[in-house]
């Protein structure tokens, strides 16, 4: 069974440009999470989807970040326009049903904003 896949693995963009990160969760997992790790800091929660609905987006830094989950399958996280402080590793994770815990993480998308 395929795990959580994220694309791209690494993206280098200039300040002001737009980047879209994609996450494909494990098939059948209703819960999809986005997290971010900035260098030297802990992994921080961004938002949580249950199927196609945003359950909790309290961790989204500002309105430059837009997350969507089409038809409850894959999800995208768009940063527009990107700023230097957006650099970091963006992780996606998924889990089954209503059981909180045992998140399955992707390998992350490293974003570098120059």
């Amino acid at each position: 069974e395929a795990g959580v896949t994220q694309f791209p693995s690494h993206s280098v963009i200039e300040k002001g440009q737009t980047v879209t990160l994609r996450c494909d969760p494990i098939s059948g997992h209703d819960n999809l999470y986005w997290y971010r790790r900035v260098m030297g800091k802990e992994i921080k929660f961004l938002l949580h989807f249950v199927k196609e609905s945003k359950q909790d987006e309290s961790g989204m830094p500002n309105n430059r970040f837009l997350a969507e989950r089409t038809g409850g399958t894959y999800s995208t996280l768009k940063v527009q326009p990107a700023e230097l402080e957006d650099s970091g590793v963006y992780f996606c994770a998924s889990s089954q049903g209503t059981y909180y815990g045992e998140l399955f993480f992707g390998e992350g998308s490293r974003l570098t904003v120059l």
């Binding site: 992994i43 929660f45 909180y100 815990g101 399955f104 992707g106």
Partner: protein, 108 residues
């Protein structure tokens, strides 16, 4: 706001010994607590989950304890091996709030 602290950024343990990592939290009463392992350049991998009404959980060479009075969890790796070297993350429930992690080095 909730705060999680993991006892040290890095920990060196001799192979074969027991490694003990500490996770303390404040301003929160989690229903459960989790431990993850993260290798460089990889995503975290789930190891164990312990609920507030459980004192201890074991899985092979791993043992987790949860003391809700002390607001602390201990993570033990017995008979440690060099392959156990990684960063270990403690996480609280709900949004899965992570600590910064402890880099564990098992010395051969």
């Amino acid at each position: 706001s909730q705060k999680i602290e993991q006892n040290s950024e890095a920990l060196n343990i001799q192979e074969g010994k027991t490694a003990t990592l500490t996770c303390n939290y404040t301003n929160y009463s989690p229903a459960y607590l989790q431990w993850y392992r993260q290798d460089p350049g990889r995503g975290p991998v789930f190891l164990l989950l312990i609920r507030e009404n459980e004192k201890e959980k074991r899985k092979e060479r791993l043992k987790v304890t949860f003391d809700t009075t002390l607001k602390q969890s201990l993570f033990h790796i017995t008979a440690s091996q060099p392959a156990d070297s990684a960063t270990y993350l403690c996480a609280l429930d709900d949004k899965i709030i992570f600590g910064k992690g402890t880099r564990l080095h098992i010395l051969p």
